[in-house]
């Protein structure tokens, strides 16, 4: 097999065109930025036909030029992405084959966006996201990785090779290298080359997304459950409860994160059971949260309450026991058939929740302090509603805006934090394809081989960037209320 080039045969004439278009676009963008700093502010004038006049002069011309250039670049990129679907294997090189591999993701993204844009008026805050370009880009990036993770883990698509298989002779080989006979996975090439242990970088990158997409949001959700369950009463009641909880939160926040990880994530500390007890403590909060949430809503209708609470708490309880119960640790009492799953990286997971929860607590507490003086709270109190009902069904929904925004940002931070753990070699298995570990692996040989470190770095960057943009879009749109 011939090794693949980046853009294959098609690239021979498409590349120069794209190059020119991108150069012009960049030049125009810089010119516009520079000119924009000196130009007087645009005054919008309504024309008699109801349209608005665009800014004139040289700035206006650049604006128009940019619009077309931008469209041209997009169109060219689309050619790279779509062409491989009709052309034979390898014609559009590595880029084309990667696009081909991501086909299910593209389809899923197009479907999601089409449906969402059609029905955006009925979809509340989520729908409004599609009014903001920034929000849409962010959402697109995030969903790209979510779908990738989904298709890789559930349907076993996208990845071309097994992410752990080492093929002799492919160590640190450049992108597009052909694999020896008999070792081909779905395709006979390593699209992004081989890493230090001769594994396929492309497959590792896409498989890594499952780890990040599974752990980061889940850990963030748990942190939010803990933060909300404690932050609401602290803000609502105030007093001694608030003082104590705030003190504890500040205590954890004052703890240097790295030191905490070093102390918790060593294998023998796991043997002492501290992480298991912490897990048992922290993961009980979702149970409390949902229990109180439903109870406060339906306690006037005991029958309905029981009908809802029992199955919900039953399932949650089972999940809870399965999560905290781990073979070989101090908490190991469930029979194997009852234990649904073992989280292999429980320690990492617990630690991440533990460091994130206090910040969430502080945000929720601050919001509650603000919201409890509102009229609708007073109204509910006058109606004789219980304290928990007011907190969970009156205050919390009204605090959702900032919380959702923070949630998106925090997933990003958690992703970065997991990478930091990988950087210090704590917690995760060495073969794990998660991006933090692979960046750390690749960084060691960065001086001679740049290709193993860059794909996971770009992936991590794009996901965190997407989350930040999404948060920005959400903030903008929620402020428009």
């Amino acid at each position: 097999m011939e090794p693949l080039t980046w853009t294959g045969a098609v690239g021979a004439f498409l590349n120069p065109v794209l190059g020119i278009a991108v150069t012009l676009l960049v030049v125009a963008l810089i010119a516009q930025l520079v000119l924009g700093l000196f130009a007087s502010p645009t005054t919008l004038q309504a024309n008699p036909d109801g349209t608005l006049a665009a800014s004139g002069g040289i700035l206006g011309k650049i604006e128009t030029a940019m619009k077309y250039l931008f469209l041209a670049v997009i169109a060219l990129i689309l050619v790279y992405l779509i062409a491989p679907l009709v052309l034979p294997y390898g014609m559009v090189g590595i880029i084309g084959e990667m696009s081909q591999r991501f086909l299910p993701v593209w389809i899923a993204l197009i479907v999601t966006f089409t449906i969402s844009i059609i029905y955006k008026r009925r979809l509340g805050l989520y729908g409004k996201l599609f009014d903001s370009t920034v929000g849409m880009i962010g959402f697109g990036l995030v969903m790209f990785w979510v779908f990738t993770a989904l298709f890789v883990s559930v349907f076993d698509l996208i990845a071309t090779h097994d992410y752990l298989t080492q093929v002799s002779g492919l160590k640190n080989k450049a992108p597009g290298v052909a694999v020896p006979d008999g070792t081909a996975g779905d395709i006979p090439h390593y699209l992004l080359g081989g890493d230090n242990l001769a594994r396929d970088i492309f497959s590792r990158m896409v498989s890594g997304s499952t780890f990040v997409i599974a752990i980061a949001p889940l850990a963030t959700i748990f942190a939010f459950m803990v933060g909300i369950t404690l932050g609401l009463p602290a803000g609502y009641y105030g007093g001694l409860l608030d003082t104590i909880l705030s003190f504890v939160a500040n205590l954890i926040l004052a703890f240097p994160v790295i030191l905490l990880f070093y102390l918790l994530v060593t294998p023998e500390i796991v043997q002492t059971g501290i992480p298991s007890y912490m897990a048992a403590f922290l993961f009980v909060f979702p149970l409390i949260f949902f229990g109180v949430l439903l109870n406060s809503r339906y306690y006037t209708q005991p029958q309905k309450r029981t009908a809802i609470l029992v199955p919900v708490l039953g399932i949650l309880g089972w999940l809870y026991l399965s999560v905290i119960n781990q073979k070989g640790t101090v908490i190991d009492f469930l029979p194997a058939w009852f234990d649904l799953f073992d989280i292999t990286i429980l320690v990492v997971f617990v630690s991440v929740v533990f460091v994130n929860a206090p910040t969430v607590f502080r945000i929720v507490r601050g919001l509650t302090l603000d919201l409890r003086t509102r009229d609708y709270v007073a109204a509910a109190q006058t109606r004789g509603e219980g304290a928990w009902y007011i907190m969970l069904w009156e205050i919390l929904p009204n605090a959702r805006g900032p919380l959702i925004v923070d949630f998106c940002l925090r997933i990003g931070y958690t992703t970065i934090l997991l990478g930091t753990l990988g950087f210090f070699g704590l917690g995760l298995s060495s073969e794990s394809p998660d991006w933090g570990s692979t960046i750390n692996e690749g960084r060691k040989l960065l001086l001679i081989f740049a290709h193993p470190a860059l794909p996971p770095a770009v992936a991590l960057l794009s996901l965190v960037l997407g989350l930040n943009l999404l948060a920005d879009g959400l903030r903008e749109e929620s402020l428009k209320d």
Partner: protein, 348 residues
């Protein structure tokens, strides 16, 4: 005000007390003590030797007693070891056991002995802090003005393309963790791979003599990550100020745009970023840990990693006390500063 500050200091001491106890407890867990014995004694020491090593050096005493000794409320141990040597907590290297004082703890001003550095914590830590101070000073010098300029430029015309571009750029920098940007910088600018070997990839020579060559990359790595966040805060604050009534009045009066920005908007727009910058400092500490490790710069973060990986108990306690101090001090300064900067809040 005085009472407020006094109360904050009380909380600080209480926090430090609780935190050091937790650190003390965690570092004194069996496995961590074994780790200590093996790193200090011999990596391939037998289990019996570990037990007697620990007993001879006072690590096998009950936890509260050890903590009391560290605090200085209990007399330091004097142990007649199984190997025939007498060891006392308060006797430093080369000091006779009989001449050692009875108490030696924090209350006596003795921060203990670092098992890794083989020196007193109080002799090692200030130097490390000074190094980190130097690093952070330069980071602040680069980051704060840069972030404020970007933020103000972006915020003065909200929604313009300048705003969009600068905002996106600041989001990109916040989305690039230090371990990614630092690695990229080193491969780009500190190796010959791309023909741009302008800087040095290590900063350990910067400890003694910081130059543009050896200090630029670590400073930029931290500054970039922190910059985006402050810039976005400044932008938001600036954008809000620009829509305020008095700005509109000034514009209607025909004051030129640059003058409005510089004379009227700027001061009010900078109140919020000030608090953010102060609160940013403890957050930057974890970045400092990564960057100091990456560039082998012997500062506070580097010491933390070294102490943590070797279970250097008394050094870790010193590190925790300092980090509590930094976190709570910056909170206090940001609270006080907010009050003084904001003309709407005046203490009578």
């Amino acid at each position: 005000m005085g009472l407020f500050i006094l109360r904050r200091f009380g909380v600080m001491i209480l926090t430090a007390f609780c935190l050091t106890f937790i650190v003390f407890w965690l570092t004194n867990l069996g496995p961590n003590l074994e780790k200590l014995a093996k790193t200090q004694g011999n990596a391939r020491m037998s289990d019996d030797a570990v037990v007697s090593w620990l007993a001879n050096r006072g690590y096998s005493q009950p936890l509260p007693i050890k903590y009391g000794q560290w605090l200085g409320v209990l007399p330091g141990y004097v142990i007649d070891g199984t190997d025939g040597e007498v060891r006392a907590r308060c006797a430093g290297p080369g000091e006779a056991v009989e001449e050692a004082s009875t108490f030696c703890g924090i209350l006596q001003g003795d921060w203990g002995f670092s098992t890794v550095a083989k020196d007193n914590v109080s002799a090692v830590l200030p130097g490390r802090l000074a190094n980190t101070g130097k690093l952070m000073g330069w980071v602040m010098l680069v980051m704060v003005p840069g972030a404020l300029i970007v933020g103000v430029l972006a915020g003065m015309r909200e929604g313009s393309r300048t705003d969009r571009t600068l905002s996106t750029a600041s989001i990109v920098t916040t989305a690039t963790p230090e371990y990614v940007s630092g690695v990229l910088f080193i491969s780009l600018f500190a190796t010959g791979t791309f023909g741009m070997q302008w800087f040095k990839g290590t900063a350990s020579s910067a400890v003694e003599n910081a130059t543009f060559e050896n200090f630029f990359l670590p400073v930029m790595t931290i500054a970039l990550y922190g910059m985006g966040y402050i810039a976005r805060m400044t932008r938001a604050s600036m954008a809000e100020v620009m829509t305020a009534q008095y700005i509109r009045t000034a514009r209607l009066k025909g004051v030129s745009f640059p003058k409005i920005v510089l004379k009227h908007a700027l001061r009010n727009a900078l109140i919020a970023p000030f608090t953010v910058i102060m609160l940013q400092i403890p957050w930057l500490l974890s970045g400092v840990v990564i960057v100091e490790t990456l560039f082998t710069y012997q500062g506070f973060g580097w010491e933390l990693v070294r102490a943590a990986s070797n279970n250097d108990i008394e050094m870790l306690l010193g590190v925790s006390v300092i980090s509590v101090f930094v976190v709570l001090m910056t909170q206090l300064i940001s609270d006080i500063g907010y009050v003084y900067l904001n003309p709407r809040i005046r203490i009578s």
